[in-house]
Amino acid sequence: MEDPRKPVVEIINLSKSFGEGSTQVRALVDIDLTVYAGEVIGLIGPSGSGKSTLLNCIGCITDPNSGSMTLVGRKVFQDRWLVGDLRRMRLETIGFIFQFHNLLPFISAMENVALVRQLIGNTADDARARAMELLRYLQVDNRADALPAKLSGGEAQRVAIARALANEPRIILADEPTAALDSERATIVINLMKKVAVERRAAVLVVTHDEKIFSRLDRMVHLRDGRIVSNAKSALP
């Protein structure tokens, strides 16, 4: 049985700066962060604090300058990328949820989810069956054939979550997932993420300014000027 305290994301001394010389901006400075399976972590802080950069580094989108990063037990960065195909790494390990769902507008809700399964290598039929399963799990299967433009904000975000889960990721990265939702729908979405984290043994990292969901987070990592200034269990009720 898997050790419940086994880290899914382990970051040590991770630094990232943009520009050079007098124009250099240190976006991340010696970040240490460990996230365990089943946890929902909030990355909070003012604009420019480095939370999006940290999310991008964990998502293998932005190259850190130094430090090390281990994802799902595999060291992927040690002062340089140790993985050749980062896109494949993302496809197999990470799920992304965006502020504005970012569903492909020209394919249906179900096809948006099935696409990820097909990219992994599933046949079209298997991908569709799995996509329907996920949509049912997120209670949006009745909108499977609708194009994203025909979905409500809450429905679209649930489809986006289904897509993020389609590759059975151990890490889910969410960038302001509730910012475009009202408080009722925001609560539904964050509860879903929590459910996913627990049931699928995934680590969920959420960049958010949304105070409504702070109480639903397991931990809040507060960043300022590229440094972690606090990393504690949610203090809010």
Partner: protein
């Protein structure tokens, strides 16, 4: 699922409109090629129809089509007596304008001896000429009808048959008649200075019973070179093979047009490439967020490249198909004959595929540069 096809379905109206616009451009490219083929067909049509083994014309001249030529009609009998010659026929060619239904009708008069080389025609309606005078067989493009009577020169002629695709090298529709009729018309249409001189001297003509060329048909296995060399030895005559006559026409009539049309076709293809390139580039920019999302969720480059290239090909091929249909539907309404050959269509299809691939390079390059991080908000 095919993302390119699904994106096309999603914006079907815009895609169809783009394809229709492109089809007009590609239709013009096909039209230009068709016009060129039509020019060749018209220029060489009569020469190929006559299918002479040897053309005999006035010495120092290049034939009855490229230059004017006049020789005595009895030259035909002298040449017929040559070794290797199976048959000969005298021909007269003359372009004239006649009044018809309130307008000027420009026709190419072909006078030939019925039953002899030079009198070949493909009759599609009516009958051939059987009387020695005042009967004509007209090309359909003249607009003349069977039974219609028309004045050419001072005589009235009756249309007894219609033929197809028989024109001068300049595209004027042909009217076939007996050699005698054509000679009379040629005399009537002579320059006024010549006619004044004829009246002044009281002689009927300074050059009686003249024709423009003699068409020679050789016996099987006869050496054409020997016959032409033999005729060329007579200083007042020139002789050339059927192929040489075609080459002269190609050089003098078609070559400039070929270069001109080739230049326009090339420019249009470059314009098509730029247009398709711009459309593909714009379509790629429209999908920037989707492409960033695809990259972020782990779609490989080949998925993104396929999305763009397949759309460019779909657009080019659909535009090509619509263009081909349009040009075929309208080809009969063009003032000059359009000849649309299957080989040209297939070649153009190949060029369009290459054009689409080239045009999608800009879109692909821009797509591959899109940062997956741009899919994330903020």
């Amino acid at each position: 699922m095919n993302l390119a096809w699904r994106d096309v379905q999603h914006g079907l109206g815009r895609f169809v409109l783009t394809c229709v616009g492109l089809s007009l451009l590609l239709g013009v490219v096909m039209g230009m090629t068709g016009i060129y083929r039509g020019l060749v067909s018209e220029a060489l049509g009569l020469v190929r129809l006559v299918n002479a083994d040897v053309w005999v014309v006035e010495g120092g001249k290049r034939g009855p089509f490229a230059e004017s030529s006049r020789i005595p009609r009895d030259t035909r009998d002298v040449i017929a007596a040559q070794s290797g010659v199976a048959a000969t026929g005298a021909v007269v060619y003359q372009t004239v304008e006649i009044p018809h239904q309130g307008k000027n009708l420009r026709i190419f008069v072909v006078g030939a001896e019925v039953g002899r080389p030079g009198s070949e025609m493909v009759i599609v309606d009516g009958r051939a000429i059987v009387r020695s005078r005042t009967e004509i067989v007209a090309d359909q493009k003249t607009g003349l009808l069977i039974g219609e009577r028309i004045k050419i020169g001072r005589d009235d002629f009756t249309v007894v048959g219609l033929m197809q695709n028989t024109t001068s090298s300049g595209g004027d529709p042909a009217v076939m008649m007996t050699l005698r009729d054509a000679q009379i018309i040629q005399a009537q249409f002579e320059p006024s200075a010549v006619r004044r001189e004829t009246a002044r001297t009281g002689q009927a003509s300074t050059r009686p019973d003249q024709v423009n060329a003699i068409v020679v048909r050789l016996k099987p296995l006869a050496a054409g070179d020997m016959v032409t060399d033999s005729i060329k030895r007579w200083k007042h005559l020139a002789a050339m093979s059927g192929q040489e006559q075609e080459d002269i026409l190609t050089r003098s009539v078609i070559e400039k047009a070929r270069r001109q049309i080739g230049l326009f076709t090339g420019i249009l293809l470059v314009v098509s490439t730029v247009v398709i390139g711009l459309i593909v580039y714009t379509m790629t920019l429209d999908k920037k967020k989707s492409i960033a999302t695809l990259k972020l969720i782990g779609a490989p480059d080949r998925t993104i490249v396929a999305l763009i290239v397949q759309q460019a090909l779909a657009m080019g091929l659909t535009g090509f198909a619509i263009g081909a249909i349009l040009i075929r539907m309208t080809q009969d309404f063009f003032p000059r004959r359009l000849v649309l050959e299957t080989t040209d269509t297939i070649s153009l299809l190949g060029i369009i595929i290459i054009v689409c691939l080239l045009a999608s390079v800009f879109g692909v390059r821009s797509a591959l540069k899109i940062d997956p991080a741009s899919a994330l908000g903020g």
